[in-house]
Symmetry: D2
Subunit: 365 residues, 4 copies
Amino acid sequence: MANSFGKSFQISTWGESHGGSIGVTIDGCPPGIEVNEAMLQHDLDRRKPGQSKITTQRKESDEAKIVSGIWEGKTTGTPIAIYVSNTDARPQAYDEMKEKFRPSHADYTYQSKFGIRNHEGGGRSSARETIGRVAAGAIAKQILHKWNGVEIRAYISSIYNVELPNSAFIDFPSEEQVESNIVRCPDPEIAEKMIDVIKQARSDGDSVGGVITCRIRNFKPGLGEPVFDRFEADLAKAMLSLPATKGFEIGSGFCSTFLKGSEHNDVFYTDDEGNVKTRTNHSGGVQGGITNGEEVYFRVAFKPTATILKPQETLNKEHEATELIGRGRHDPCVVPRAVVIVEAMAALVAVDHLLRDHGQNHLFG
Amino acid sequence: MANSFGKSFQISTWGESHGGSIGVTIDGCPPGIEVNEAMLQHDLDRRKPGQSKITTQRKESDEAKIVSGIWEGKTTGTPIAIYVSNTDARPQAYDEMKEKFRPSHADYTYQSKFGIRNHEGGGRSSARETIGRVAAGAIAKQILHKWNGVEIRAYISSIYNVELPNSAFIDFPSEEQVESNIVRCPDPEIAEKMIDVIKQARSDGDSVGGVITCRIRNFKPGLGEPVFDRFEADLAKAMLSLPATKGFEIGSGFCSTFLKGSEHNDVFYTDDEGNVKTRTNHSGGVQGGITNGEEVYFRVAFKPTATILKPQETLNKEHEATELIGRGRHDPCVVPRAVVIVEAMAALVAVDHLLRDHGQNHLFG
Amino acid sequence: MANSFGKSFQISTWGESHGGSIGVTIDGCPPGIEVNEAMLQHDLDRRKPGQSKITTQRKESDEAKIVSGIWEGKTTGTPIAIYVSNTDARPQAYDEMKEKFRPSHADYTYQSKFGIRNHEGGGRSSARETIGRVAAGAIAKQILHKWNGVEIRAYISSIYNVELPNSAFIDFPSEEQVESNIVRCPDPEIAEKMIDVIKQARSDGDSVGGVITCRIRNFKPGLGEPVFDRFEADLAKAMLSLPATKGFEIGSGFCSTFLKGSEHNDVFYTDDEGNVKTRTNHSGGVQGGITNGEEVYFRVAFKPTATILKPQETLNKEHEATELIGRGRHDPCVVPRAVVIVEAMAALVAVDHLLRDHGQNHLFG
Amino acid sequence: MANSFGKSFQISTWGESHGGSIGVTIDGCPPGIEVNEAMLQHDLDRRKPGQSKITTQRKESDEAKIVSGIWEGKTTGTPIAIYVSNTDARPQAYDEMKEKFRPSHADYTYQSKFGIRNHEGGGRSSARETIGRVAAGAIAKQILHKWNGVEIRAYISSIYNVELPNSAFIDFPSEEQVESNIVRCPDPEIAEKMIDVIKQARSDGDSVGGVITCRIRNFKPGLGEPVFDRFEADLAKAMLSLPATKGFEIGSGFCSTFLKGSEHNDVFYTDDEGNVKTRTNHSGGVQGGITNGEEVYFRVAFKPTATILKPQETLNKEHEATELIGRGRHDPCVVPRAVVIVEAMAALVAVDHLLRDHGQNHLFG
């Protein structure tokens, strides 16, 4: 049982890929926040399938209904419930999955753990579950923006072997720049190469993964709850709770091990306005588990999608050898659609920590 | 506030580097487990400073006292409390820290968050806090061993630019092999090179970081609580909650992005005894957030220690520019001592998930 | 923020009296349980308004839709989401509440806490919120019955000054007996007197309260988690979390203070089948916070409903004196409808403790 | 597992009656609070045995040591750890308990649940466990006093058949008045009668129970977290988590059922200073689960102590009939010593709710 995330701003998601609907509740949202529903729908649209030639052709409108917790356009401090109907379910497309375990999917492990599973569309392990996260994240972003103008921006920094160099140190891109191409890489030339790689994977019936870089600016110092709920620890958990993720780095990450302490330490100074700053930011905006006011940045690795259109050996429910022949709708690369999901999870962690520090009802005085 | 970890097997640590003592309580330990106190002390000894020439010369006996929850050698199901006295505290050594923020330490962020801090030895942010984790982890290991012979082995896979290749795929080393050299790398030749790098850092008054690989075998399928408390998500959080960690990878990690789906997928088969297995293990023993019975393996990056013996620019409490001159005891590389801490955190995550599945009182029938 | 209840079998309710719908999610339900939806609807029907002449005439069909977590009639171990549409909302009936604080209602305190409130029908503080509890409780009852044939029976033991003597010591009534009259008192003669009292209150435009007795049988010893989550402590919290409750007693309750230790102690003996029993049961089936296998029984006091049809002095939102004239639908006594809610909360506490002991996935081997 | 209480100001107790020590940690205490250790010790002294002729003659110094979380007299926001050594343990006095289940004690239920128990002095179920609650409660009181001058006062309102009439409506007594006699009833004449009843029970080798009334004043409106963590629900749980408690009432309690709505409703008005007040306070300071600024008052029933000096039938561990002959130290009435424990639990609930509303680090701006 673990369908809730967050301690003070707590979201709970429910629903399967092929049930009638899928949704989320948010418990602990501060009262009196004006919620822009168009921005919420905008984020859901960025997540939904069928947006472009490089994603799956499943067509879902993914239209959100907010059914409680908002009154005359503002949050009331009571639970916000949001749901989205599943419209393009094709249960019969999954008949093969009923009998066979798809390699590197959750079929076998769900069956082992629960002794029963809803095989249609992956059931609860489907990426459709992230709809609730994105909807809640969209509200979290609005709270962060109101609090201190906090901005969160995620974008693709690599797809397969095509990489955006120094991805965390380019100018902080606008959302428009990120959205200017279907792969969501702020560098248009590199984006073209990434798109080519994905198209090739599609025509091969294969799949590719990649890396998302995410940055948060305008934080104040003081968010993070050591020793266990360090800000970066909760970010790491949030990211690894997403389907298909295999790695997380904060700040200098694994590369930190190639620097010496004298090179890695972030020296403090005071800027012209008297703010405490650091000359470098290898820490990634977090020291001792608490934000220091510098930009928070991190990277998340997504493996290539498990669903491919090539025949694969596998086992059936009786544990006999069989072959699985992928067919139907196929998403050769989920990473571009995951950009908004990474932003959502980052926003959820940030608001949760904000409310742990300030309380639900006294964030805005 | 976040000094507890785990939902069903919950540890809470308390204490500062220079208070009279430091400790941990464990809530939810199954009753009737024989606790081998020598094994617990053995792990604390592996963690303690002053073990060898390459670590800090702070001398602590780190002798554990178990003051509740054990009755005639067995756990009773009630809270286990363990503490260790601080004996080698030298408060005067920290006078400079009272006034100055050490770069890349937690001094500034604790001051920002709480408006007050115990500066001696880093107070609560000191690595001495991990004593409680190691003590609790030693009990967790004994539960795992009793349950299904589970073994957890961590070791150094890189220090600065010296690397153990294919670190997760060497033969599963014994603890003796890991402990056969002071750097805790199972390959003796590479260990020598790592030791040289650390000695050089020490003589330079500088520091280096590295990577720890950790492996868990003899798991059964079924541990992990999707969608948020996936097994790897809780591992990621556990590791990023350790001081000085900057990155986490499960299974193929960031390298997964250089494979295609057809290469990355782990094909199922049945072994001679009828067990479901996978031919490769890019997943790292976890699919859909749930263990599949294969070996779980992961890597953790530790940055170079922030404390160095070179002069550094910084700010004092009044935010004025000043210089910090490191002196006194100095640990050029904490990673070898972190090996047992990584094992402890892995054991804590594993037992917590085990009890979430089985309950506190029915694990052993 | 506190819209979740339970640690291992956790329910979260959402929705307001006059939003489009109201609902609940259940996280942690064991997999493989056959859910009888008719029994769930039956309990909702027992709770709903407009059942008889002595309750409010608000007409709601309160038809439950289960939208996730059930697959081919069985639970899957994933979140169960249930909702009910609000059909008989009459927002205009609440215009007066927008401006005036109803005495002994939550209008003033919600306004004080959140600075905003949905005034229609009491918003989140409406008793309609208990729909989700009843729906979840109906599933909890089915789990308890499957586990050990556990039966939970609540009934009215007093309305105003009409009392059922020795209410906890009459023969364990069947649900049919309880449901045989509209006030839900298993003694038909006393029930008639209670109904008269309620009718009188209705014709006076006034209201009355009462006491519900609840009993649980076929428990095994061992449920309850001292020292804080004692079985009776969680029951007390569950009952006091219901609207209009003012008191809770377990076993001998307040009357225990009129006995001496030698009279109150429950002497152990062994019955013919070798089971450990107690000759009396002043403990109410719980000793040291843990069930001992005897019948658990407790009593809950409900104050008279705050909504009455008499003019009352009060304040408006500007804190000026004004008069509130009750009108419209009026429920002179909510206690008969609360019988099924008390059963539901008792079932939720019991299943939660059962799963804390046994784990989510190993309750039925 | 449930040795923690509170969500934002969380205490965890550990230790058994006859282990070397017993203690508590507090996680989430706001930083910068001056802690008066003498007041903490004062409360422990009010709880400790052997204070007067009417309590047990066990002699314990119960001297508290604060070993972390306080720095130069002030809280630092990190975990506060406090422990007390057990000095007057007489393990041999409990040899009989090893074999026999004491009636209405926790011996049988602990054995059933855990399959093992520390029988000495009741082990974990001993009232010594409340030491940690009282120590933490003393700090909570200091926070409440600093926040808004909140005062919490508990006192005895009945012992066996001697009652203080209208106990919640007498003038708010000073601590001096309560402490002016050994039974802790603010009315000296009634106190004398109560003492006589207890003396009689002692000379009979028997025991008596009683009721404690507790009142909290100077609260602001707005504390309480509906729908489940209503202020009174958390109070009820806190009180029923204490050993020997059987009932809880908030405000009008069970007597509310003898009033009609028109009599029970608390009419709002504005006092001379413009504060919103209610003319009566049947609600007990809480409406809709949230404090309304009126005095919070509640009553708690304690059964007669289970330990008596008369022979009692019982069973041994093999479930064979036997006789238990009480001897040794005997506490004919624990209720006077429970007064400070009730205050402590009330303070813990109040601070927890305060911090849930305001956050750990922004309570005092």
